[in-house]
């Protein structure tokens, strides 16, 4: 008897869930009306067309109009890095990778110390300074940009939203069904399963984007070996972190280990260009003027174990030969562990030895010593700072310190 009741309710639920799906399907079909682009592996009939814009009446139209508002806010955000040269350089790399989709992807560099880049459904791409700080080459950049372009081409955001809507709508009827048989708490189990399945769907999209990214970067002439490298570096940083990255069931992205192995396997199976670009030198030259600022933001996160890994993976600066020593000193100064004053100064001195023209370590030593008994040494270093950087914006502040030291 009870079993029969369950069966009736189950059929009832399924029927309604199907209705719910129909209700959600008014976006005009995801794959409808797009002729295939021939001879391309990653760009196929399921891809968006160049210059595409959704109709206002569709779910996609709603999502786009929401994100366009966000893009307006991004354009004028104080967090945006607006340096023209850097923007032009990175935009060019994005454009070359995107090919016929070049004008559909718009890059915004965002001042944010976390390792991330993200693609919005309308082609707005955010790249965090924390990402640029952690990578070493154009090829690594291409791997990630290719991945993000993959999300755009396959309309992953839209599909994921649809997937969630369908599952959540169905969940309502599952809840009704369970309540009818007085088993409402079982609904919580279904909720967990649904959340797990939503995350699994997302991980599948990430895998697809990884493959497309690899494909696009190789087409762009880059060495595909750069793709797993990124994850290796991040894996090392993650293993030092207090909270691990290792949770799978609800994770929206596959675990780094899996990504590294899968990218390696796929890279090995590819037809590679004879001459593979890595682009380490140009990349380093372009980001060199900004690296200190970005690293300071990383330090402001106060996750010093991770910062040490970040610093370890940084290449020597073509602008300031002693910069890595200077940054090591900054890390020690801000970490404030035992004997940080002499230990930091040791690194600042090394930086000065390698590059006596870099004004920054002098100021750092002065600041560390002005409150100690070594006032004379602080004074000398402040003077060296001002003579190496006469136009410094904080000149007034330093002159004030010098006056106080004279008292």
């Amino acid at each position: 008897m009870i079993r029969a009741r369950y069966a009736v309710y189950a059929i009832f639920c399924l029927g309604l869930a199907a209705c719910a799906q129909g209700d959600d399907g008014r976006n005009g079909g995801i794959h409808a009306g797009f002729p295939p682009v021939r001879g391309e592996k990653s760009i196929d009939e399921t891809s968006i067309m160049p210059g595409y814009r959704p109709e206002l009446e569709t779910m996609e139209g709603g999502i786009w109009s929401q994100v366009e508002k966000l893009e307006e806010a991004t354009k004028t955000s104080g967090k945006r890095v607006t340096d023209e040269k850097l923007n032009a350089y990175i935009s060019k790399i994005v454009c070359d990778l995107a090919g016929t989709y070049c004008s559909d992807i718009r890059l915004y560099i965002i001042e944010n110390p976390t390792f991330n880049a993200s693609m919005f459904p309308n082609g707005m791409m955010h790249v965090n300074t924390g990402f640029l700080l952690r990578i070493q080459s154009e090829a690594q950049m291409a791997a990630v940009f290719g991945h993000e372009i993959g999300h755009y081409l396959k309309r992953h955001s839209l599909k994921r939203t649809q997937d969630k809507h369908v599952k959540a709508n169905a969940f309502v009827f599952v809840q009704i069904g369970f309540a009818l048989v007085n088993a409402a708490p079982l609904g919580d189990l279904i909720r967990l399963a649904l959340q797990g399945s939503i995350s699994a769907y997302s991980r599948d999209q990430e895998r697809e984007a990884d493959s497309i990214g690899l494909d696009l970067m190789v087409k762009g002439g880059y060495s595909p070996g750069a793709a797993p490298e990124i994850w290796e570096n991040l894996f090392e940083e993650g293993s030092k972190a207090s909270k691990g990255l290792n949770y799978l069931f609800f994770g929206s992205h596959p675990l780094p280990r899996e990504r590294i192995e899968s990218l390696r396997r796929q890279a090995e199976a590819m037809d590679l260009p004879v001459k593979q670009r890595i682009g380490e030198t140009t990349f380093l030259e372009m980001i060199a003027p900004f690296r200190e600022g970005w690293f300071q933001q990383q330090l402001s996160q106060e996750s010093f174990k991770e910062s040490k890994v970040v610093l370890k993976n940084m290449a020597p600066s073509p602008l300031y030969p002693g910069e890595l020593h200077f940054l090591r000193g900054e890390l020690i100064r801000r970490e404030r562990e035992k004997d940080f004053v002499p230990r930091a100064i040791e690194y600042y001195q090394k930086a000065i030895e390698m590059d006596p023209d870099d004004s920054r370590p002098y100021k750092a030593i002065g600041l560390l010593l002005m409150k100690t008994k070594q006032k004379e040494r602080a004074r000398t270093n402040f003077h060296s700072y001002l003579s190496h950087a006469p136009q410094a914006v904080d000149r007034g502040v330093i002159e004030q310190y010098l006056k106080e030291l004279d008292k």
């Binding site: 709603g62 999502i63 994921r160 969630k164 959540a168 369970f178 929206s252």
Partner: protein, 263 residues
């Protein structure tokens, strides 16, 4: 009442975080993700502040010297959503566009009726940094007003009068727009999808329980461009004070929202 069906703001938990962003590692976008707790908190604030609907103003008449005052109508900030069966909010671009057109028309005619000259804000001039700063500052001050004048428990203990200003530093804005006042209108509305209505009927029949339907919220603010003072402010939160997708009802909504507007 069975506890399994929650009103929509809580059910949206299943949708959080929203997937507008396909990220590389963590999927985060700049300031775009908000925690479920914060969202629930925001909706709770909506509910508790729903009863407080006082108009605040520091003037009752517009300055007429002797010409009719010129009022700059800022682009209306409107978003109209549909609530799905499962409680997800889906922005409807077509409804939003239609509502924006309706609102802009009825606002202009309401101002004319009030013997003022409506001036359309030309977005081309938005490029000026001064304009952007003016708009952003208005947003911040507006949020402070909503918190301190419309949210129970957040009233400032020593602020009895309605005195808010953006300051008078926006001289270039003033000359560019050639107006005496600026009017800002903000509108959000939520409508149940047909599927949600049917589900509601079903649960009402089965359990006597109706899931949450949408709320309409709106606020409007009038700024004296010369002094930077916010001279009039009103905020409404209701199940509905006029469906702005419909031009006639949009007129009702604006009439209610602009009540006690300076003559």
């Amino acid at each position: 009442m069975p506890v399994f069906l929650l009103p929509y703001p809580v059910v949206t938990e299943l949708f959080w975080p929203p997937d507008r962003v396909a990220g590389l590692q963590f999927g985060g976008g700049m300031g775009y993700y908000r925690s479920p707790g914060m969202i629930v908190g925001c909706f709770l604030l909506f509910f508790v502040s729903a009863c407080a609907q006082t108009v605040h103003h520091s003037i009752t008449t517009l300055e007429r010297r002797p010409d009719n005052p010129r009022i700059l109508v800022m682009p209306v900030d409107v978003e109209i959503y549909e609530i799905s069966v499962g409680g997800a909010l889906e922005l409807k671009a077509e409804w939003t566009e239609r509502s924006r057109n309706n609102l802009e028309q009825v606002i202009e005619s309401a101002l004319r009726k009030n013997a003022a000259v409506p001036v359309t804000y030309i977005p081309e001039t938005k490029a000026s940094q001064d304009h952007l700063q003016f708009l952003k500052l208005h947003g911040s001050v507006g949020r402070a007003i909503i918190l301190n004048h419309y949210t129970p428990g957040f009233a400032l203990p020593t602020k009895d009068s309605f005195e808010w200003t953006l300051g008078s530093v926006f001289e270039s804005f003033q000359t560019d727009v050639n107006s005496d006042y600026a009017l800002f209108v903000f509108m959000r509305d939520h409508h149940s999808s047909p599927g949600r209505v049917i589900t509601g009927v079903l649960t009402a029949l089965l359990f006597g329980y109706v899931p949450g339907t949408g709320l309409q919220t709106g606020f409007a603010s009038l700024v004296d461009i010369k002094s930077g003072e916010i001279v009039w402010f009103n905020r409404l939160v209701k199940a509905s004070f006029g469906d702005v997708r419909d031009s006639t009802k949009a007129q009702t909504a604006i009439e209610v929202l602009l009540s006690e507007f300076p003559k």
